[in-house]
Amino acid sequence: MNRIDEKFKQLESEKRGGFIPFIVAGDPNLAATKNLILLLAESGASVIELGVPFSDPVADGVTIQAAAERALRNRIGVTDVLETVKEVRVEGCETPIILFSYFNPILQFGLEKFASAMKTVGADGVLITDLVPEEAEDFRRILAEKDLALIMLAAPTSSDERLKKICDKASGFVYAVSRAGVTGARNEMSNEAENLVKRLRTFTDLPIAVGFGISTAAQIEEVCKYADAAVVGSAIVKEIERSIELVDVIENVRKFVENLSPN
């Protein structure tokens, strides 16, 4: 059983909701990313989503676009992201880590080579924003051979037929997109998310995480009433951006995350 499955089993037995923070690798630099991962793990992250920066992030709002730009200015690529995972594992971090990417950087790296490298460094799963189930079979098979998870996205606009296809390809957990739109913090959660999670439950026994727009502890609590975990992305990335000018990015983000983490 891989780390993701184990973590969700544990959360279930403890009757707790999961907290899944997202950061972009290399934002503001790789050393900070490593420390941020360790900090997030310590602060109660159930799973950590590590973004691979991409030049054309069509699914992202301005906050994550800006983070990707900062990372790309440091010329961060897939190799650096994998290296960072390796380093935090060496430091003893055992929190599940999934890589969050657009398809092209992974395709150029090589799907087989990427899966092998993930296994070697200790990454647990991958989520590809622009890989829909119709295009996912090859990669799913390659990952499954190595017991690596392919986390699939489901959207409120997805038909039941599509939800079934998505769940058939998914492993680890299913990521339910809370609303139509790009990533970015919102003040209000849409009620579409709860409905989507309910529909997904009829197609899968996998855990379900909700993301897009979650930025406060209250929202996390709300989401965890019906879902298994809540993903917080842009809000944390924004906090990193705000802290860049400050002396201690890590300390600032620590305070922010401690207020978020439900546990």
Binding site: D56, L72, L107, V132, A155, S158
Partner: protein, 402 residues
């Protein structure tokens, strides 16, 4: 070979759908709606009538006598898309898609534009039918195609500048996709080239194929035989595929797509996706698998071309397929060659071509002299150059321009 994509939108290994899941339902809805009208006689009649009465089709096939004589080789014909309403072939696709959007009951239309020709075409058909229109355009393109920005605004469209990346066509498409994913229910994305996720490359090609069908009929009327060579510039690939497609079955017809060679062969200096030495490799961008200009990490490269309409890092997937099977050849024309061709055509034929189309002319200038006077070449004159006159003046007068 029938040159149709499979059910997932693939020509060979090229095409497909690589989009956020949120867009898959609207894309499936669009696909269903498009296939319903594709063989619908009423729709096709409505489309052709509007092209005739509103856009002025058929466009002439013009024998460029002085240019042919000057080059001393092939007999050159120009397919005069520059005479279309709004000044380029882009109106063909805009008319087709707006009729579809209306059938789908969509009230809000969004589009991206590079040179501004597709934006103008979209703003025009939105005005024609009283629909809300938002056009995304890179800041750099807004600068170099200022006239078209003003035209779109006159036509009642909202033009939204995009400041990301190189501030050109690719960045405008990103922003249009973000708008679509946010406003899926109300909005129709009227994509302007043979690009993007299935069914766009197929649909845009179908609507643009009116160019090749007319040209085929016209050349048979005038010369009583098929042409030897077709030449067209390739940005996203819509005017070229529109000319080429009806001739694909005619094996004796040679076809050449001309990409932007820019100002050099290094990554970032051109927009020639099939130029492997220049960084073109298979990859996935903006919904489709095709040739891309990218670095070793799979990050999309900046591109450069004198012409905004060719300044794009990817190319339509059907072109990638036609290149892979050797049916169509791809060549390059540099900024300087295109600029020279712009002037040559103006002087010899009294036709000021768009800078995009000038790349096709530039290639004709290169190869026509090697051909014999009884060989026939058709060059797609995809648009007129009015929009480019200011930019060209700056360049000829030596005023610095990026």
């Amino acid at each position: 070979m029938d040159f149709q994509p499979n059910a997932l939108g693939y020509w060979g290994e090229f095409g497909g759908r690589f989009v956020p899941e949120t867009l898959m339902s609207p894309i499936e809805e669009l696909t269903g709606a498009y296939f319903a009208v594709r063989d619908d006689a009423d729709f096709q009649t409505e489309f052709l009538n509007l092209l005739q009465d509103f856009s002025g089709r058929p466009t002439p096939l013009f024998y460029a006598k002085r240019l042919s004589e000057k080059l001393g080789g092939a007999k050159i014909y120009l397919k005069r898309e520059d005479l279309s309403h709004t000044g380029s072939h882009k109106i063909n696709n805009a008319v087709g898609q707006i009729l579809l959007a209306r059938r789908m009951g969509k009230k809000r239309i969004i589009a991206e534009t590079g040179a501004g020709q597709h934006g103008v075409a979209t703003a025009t058909v939105c005005a024609l039918f009283g629909l809300e229109c938002v056009v995304y355009m890179g800041d750099e393109d807004m600068r170099r195609q200022a006239l078209n920005v003003f035209r779109m605004r006159l036509l009642g469209a909202e033009v939204r500048g995009v400041g990301a990346g190189a501030k050109t066509l690719k960045d405008a498409i990103n922003e249009a996709l973000r708008d679509w994913v946010t406003n899926v229910d109300s909005t129709y994305y009227l994509l302007g080239s043979a690009l993007g996720p299935h069914p766009y490359p197929l649909m845009v090609r179908d609507f643009q194929s009116v160019i090749g069908r007319e040209a085929r009929r016209q050349i048979l009327e005038k010369e009583n035989r098929l042409p030897d060579v077709l030449v067209a510039c390739v940005g996203g690939g819509s005017n070229s595929i529109g000319l080429f497609h009806p001739f694909l079955v005619d094996e004796i017809v040679r076809m050449i797509g001309v990409e932007a060679g820019g100002k050099g062969n290094n990554l970032g200096e051109h927009a020639a996706r099939f130029n492997k030495a220049g960084g073109g490799r298979i990859g996935v961008l903006q919904g489709t698998k095709s040739y891309l200009l990218q670095n070793d990490d799979g990050q999309i490269a900046l591109t450069h071309s004198i012409s905004a309409g060719l300044d794009y890092a990817s190319v339509g997937p059907e072109h990638a397929f036609l290149q892979s099977i050797g049916r169509v050849e791809y060549a390059m024309a540099t900024d300087d060659e295109a600029l020279a061709a712009f002037q040559t055509l103006s002087e010899t034929e009294g036709i000021i071509p768009a800078l995009e189309s000038s790349h096709g002319i530039a290639h004709a200038v290169k190869i026509a002299p090697e051909m014999s006077p009884d060989e026939i070449m058709i060059v797609n004159l995809s648009g007129r150059g009015d929009k480019d006159v200011n930019q060209v003046q700056e360049m000829i007068d030596g005023t610095p321009s990026s």
